[in-house]
């Protein structure tokens, strides 16, 4: 029998309603043996007392229910975001606020490249915060006119490149007539490429290859470092292609003795039939390990709101843009839902616009009549525009929701002004309504779209501030305790894993977020400033400072 270790803490926030707080937790073989005070725990027999966390706050290891492992890979490129952001090694990169600052940072990185033909790649650009001043190829030519340069936007759906990259991609030519490629006064592309179809031919020349959504081994390890730094012990990879090689490398890396996170990859439903997808996932499920939870599916119903590719109901987009695109037809979703329900395979469905959400509700309802499944926990991901009536339907259908609380901060102003207008922008990511309606709630970062950091995400849901500092949707705010629940047991519930993670109680995994500050005491306005010491994952200790 393995050794029993009792950890003392300044405070343990358990998320177990029958014992919300404690001072000690006993761990044996990576699981929680008991939670309480030392006298209670001593009754379990011999133990070793570890006081390393005596001045720390322990919470259940945080659960990020919607992220992408590619965040780990992207950090190998130059960070060009507007906001300060910490990399896997713990270095915080200052946000770049002007085009000049972007150029300076790229020039600095360029100087370190030895191969004159090697591409220079950046990421996380977002001109919205720079008065929407667009970066042009001329701007990037000032960094280099001889090597290809590309900067991926924060959304992942736009790429800015220099002249050399356009030339290599075959797009430096007059006469291009494509809505995704704006042209300058000279009739040539400005260097901004919208959408995967325009990005791909050039992207391959600037270091963003076609499989960039697949994280490589180094990327997976870097991704896990970010988890430790943000208190995360279980994280999803929400749109994995799960090609055979990718699965092998995920199995290999997550199985490494010091790999600090439990990764939950969801097979994307795209490019294969519903039956093929469900059959594949049943096969993958059998290969799942403790730290690689294969066996779930993600479907995508529509696009994004800021890209005007989300499907919205009447009265449509506020600026008059035409309605967005369907990525999956209702008949295909219906077939997927039936087969997945019958096989006990969980499906999470991306919807951004409220018409897409409506379509999913209309589709899942009949599927559930055909295949009654009392505890399916099918989850709507993003689901940003849902209204109260739709939340009531989710409740009746037994659905969960994972709302994009961070989005509200980063793009809320844009939605208010441009995409959906004041009223609908105010209700976006309606956490209060979800909870009041009884829909199980998680909240997410969609990293790398916004930075990984569940405590920041919780802050976003509690305060509903936008980047410009406005409170948008006073009545959709939630309490700190509710937000903390959403980033632990709430997210675990949406993954059908609340029986093993998400709270600190007997029998569960010894997964803790180790904090320097008490999130229940620091005040809602400061929640994002809670300092993270590191994590305990499956009983193994990971100090952020030692990564």
């Amino acid at each position: 029998m393995s050794e029993t270790i009792i950890y003392s803490a300044q405070k343990i926030i358990t998320m177990n309603p029958s014992r919300p707080n404690a001072t000690h937790v006993a761990v044996q073989g990576g699981r929680i043996l008991a939670v309480g005070d030392l006298t209670e725990l001593e009754t379990w027999g011999p133990y070793r007392l570890d006081e390393s966390f005596a001045d720390k706050i322990l919470m259940p290891g945080l659960v990020e229910g919607h992220a992408h492992t590619m965040e780990g890979t992207l950090w190998r490129n130059v960070y060009c975001g507007f906001f300060d952001r910490a990399d896997p090694d713990g270095k915080t990169w200052d946000g770049v606020k002007t085009i000049q600052a972007i150029q300076d940072r790229l020039i600095e990185a360029e100087a370190k490249l030895t191969d004159p033909d090697a591409p220079l790649s950046g990421w996380s650009l977002d001109p919205i915060y720079m008065d929407n001043k667009r970066v042009t190829r001329a701007d990037l030519d000032k960094v280099s006119s001889t090597r290809p340069i590309g900067i991926l936007h924060a959304s992942g759906h736009i790429l800015n490149v220099n002249t050399k990259a356009l030339e290599l991609g075959g797009l430096l030519k007059p006469g291009i007539n494509h809505e995704g490629i704006p042209l300058g006064t000279d009739g040539l592309p400005t260097g901004e490429l919208f959408g995967p179809d325009t990005m791909t031919p050039v992207g391959v020349h600037v270091g963003f290859n076609r499989s960039m959504t697949d994280s490589d081994e180094q990327g997976l390890r870097d991704f896990a470092k970010l988890c430790v730094r943000t208190g995360v012990t279980t994280i999803t990879d929400l749109a994995a292609r799960l090609e055979p090689d990718g699965v092998e490398s995920m199995l290999k890396v997550t199985n490494e003795e010091t790999y600090p996170a439990r990764v939950v990859p969801l097979q994307i439903f795209m490019g294969a039939t519903a039956k093929e997808t469900v059959d594949k996932v049943i096969g993958l499920k059998a290969r799942a390990t403790d730290r690689l939870r294969l066996g779930r599916i993600k479907a995508v119903a529509d696009g994004s709101i800021q890209g005007f590719s989300a499907r919205v109901r009447w009265p449509g987009y506020h600026n008059g843009a035409p309605n967005g695109l369907w990525y999956t037809a209702p008949e295909q979703l219906a077939e997927l839902y039936r087969l997945a329900l019958a096989a006990d395979v969980q499906v999470h469905t991306h919807t951004n616009g409220d018409e897409a959400t409506e379509m999913v509700l209309d589709t899942l309802g009949p599927a559930l009549k055909d295949v009654p499944s009392p505890d399916h926990r099918f989850t709507l991901q993003h689901c940003q525009l849902a209204d109260a009536a739709q939340f009531r339907r989710m409740d009746k259908l037994g659905m969960c929701v994972n709302l994009f609380a961070n989005h509200h901060f980063y793009w809320g102003d844009e939605h208010y002004r441009l995409t959906v207008g004041p009223e609908r922008a105010t209700r976006m990511n309606a956490c209060r309504t979800a909870l009041d309606t009884g829909v199980p709630l998680a909240i997410h970062s969609d990293a790398p779209v916004t930075p990984l950091g569940p405590l920041f995400t919780a802050w976003s849901a509690v305060n509903r501030l936008t980047a410009s500092g406005r409170t948008q949707g006073e009545h959709e705010k939630i309490e700190v305790s509710e937000a903390l629940r959403a980033i632990t047991i709430g997210a675990a519930y949406t993954l059908h894993m609340d029986d093993e993670i998400g709270s600190i109680e007997v029998g569960k995994k010894a997964d803790f977020a180790v904090l320097e500050d008490d999130p229940t005491e620091i005040g809602g306005a400061n929640l994002k400033d809670v300092r993270v010491w590191g994590t305990v994952q499956g009983g193994r200790i990971f100090a952020a400072a030692d990564l």
Binding site: G170, N177, P196, D197, G271, T273, E331, Q332, M359
Partner: protein, 305 residues
């Protein structure tokens, strides 16, 4: 540089018969090396009898044809196609049921090595109007029809004459420029879908000859205003589905004319090509009048040398 690969985008909502028609084309490829890009392989995308070999992403088909799935990365798959050996004679993109075909054509236009041959939309004669009224899919289906150069009104055997006529009218109202070809089991003359067939033999094999379509060759002796002729051939008044051939311009340049429905283009061609245009059109319509049209647009050849 070699001539670009002609590409036909085949669209239409789920169940309209896209895959069935693609199979029909593969079965009647007649020596042409067709490459097919499909969104997903599906249950049985290609008749088993046609398959020679299959791995994850590519199926080799009898007669040198191939079929590849592109999933979410059409542009990437096209880039692979551009360097495929042996080079395909014609590429078919079978788009997903919710895809907007003009967006695919837009992406195609960015890549060197391809030429859009046209957009062919399949419409299920029994359900197309219901799909166009579908709560969620209405605008998608209508955009597909609006994008079409040619609509294959499929499954005509499932509706009576009266209903078929009404659906035909309805389609024509949705897109006045479109040419509508009736079919069942996706059996259309390959010439209708692929310009690569046009001018090869007669193209009218016994198995897929349809009573209402005619092929004729216009002989042209003299020089023509090429753009005016191409535009006239694309005019729906003339009842042409397709036309392809070589003419000599007023200034003596040999030109290729390609017409698909109301879509037309001209390009320079080699002097060795013989003048003449192969036309595919609806029998009994103005096809015969074309000869007069061409004659009226031809100026006498300036004696050579």
């Amino acid at each position: 540089m070699s001539t670009p690969i002609p590409v036909t985008v085949i669209g239409g909502y789920l169940g309209s018969g896209k895959t069935t028609m693609v199979n029909h084309l593969l079965r009647n490829a007649n020596g042409l090396r067709l490459a097919v890009l499909v969104n997903e392989f599906g249950e049985l995308p290609i008749d088993e009898g046609l398959i020679e070999a299959q791995d994850d992403d590519i199926i080799s088909i009898a007669g040198g044809c191939v079929c590849c799935s592109f999933g979410s990365d059409l542009t990437g798959a096209l880039m692979d196609m551009a360097v495929l050996h042996p080079r395909p004679d014609h590429l078919l993109i079978e788009s997903s049921g919710v895809a907007i075909p003009s967006a695919i054509v837009g992406s195609l236009s960015l890549l060197d090595g391809f030429r859009t041959d046209g957009i062919v939309i399949l419409a299920d004669a029994e359900t197309i109007q219901a799909s166009a009224n579908h709560k969620y899919m209405s605008d998608t289906v209508l955009r597909q029809i609006a994008d079409a150069n040619i609509v294959v009104l499929n499954k005509t055997d499932l509706v009576n004459e009266e209903r078929l006529g009404a659906t035909f009218e309805w389609l024509a109202n949705q897109n006045p420029d479109v040419r509508i070809v009736k079919a069942y089991y996706g059996k259309v003359m390959p010439d209708v879908v692929l310009d690569s067939f046009l001018g090869k033999a007669s193209g009218v094999g016994p198995s897929h000859h349809t009573a209402d379509i005619d092929v004729m060759t216009l002989d042209i002796e003299g020089r023509v205003d090429v753009e005016n002729l191409a535009r006239a051939l694309a005019d729906s008044e003339n009842g042409l589905i397709r036309a392809k051939g070589f003419v000599t311009s007023l200034c003596g340049q040999k030109m290729l004319i390609q017409v698909v429905g109301s879509r037309w283009e001209t390009s320079n061609a080699s002097d060795s090509m013989k003048d003449g245009i192969v036309c595919l059109g609806f029998k009994g319509e103005v096809l015969q009048g074309l000869k007069m049209l061409v004659n009226s647009m031809t100026v006498e050849t300036v004696p050579q040398g």
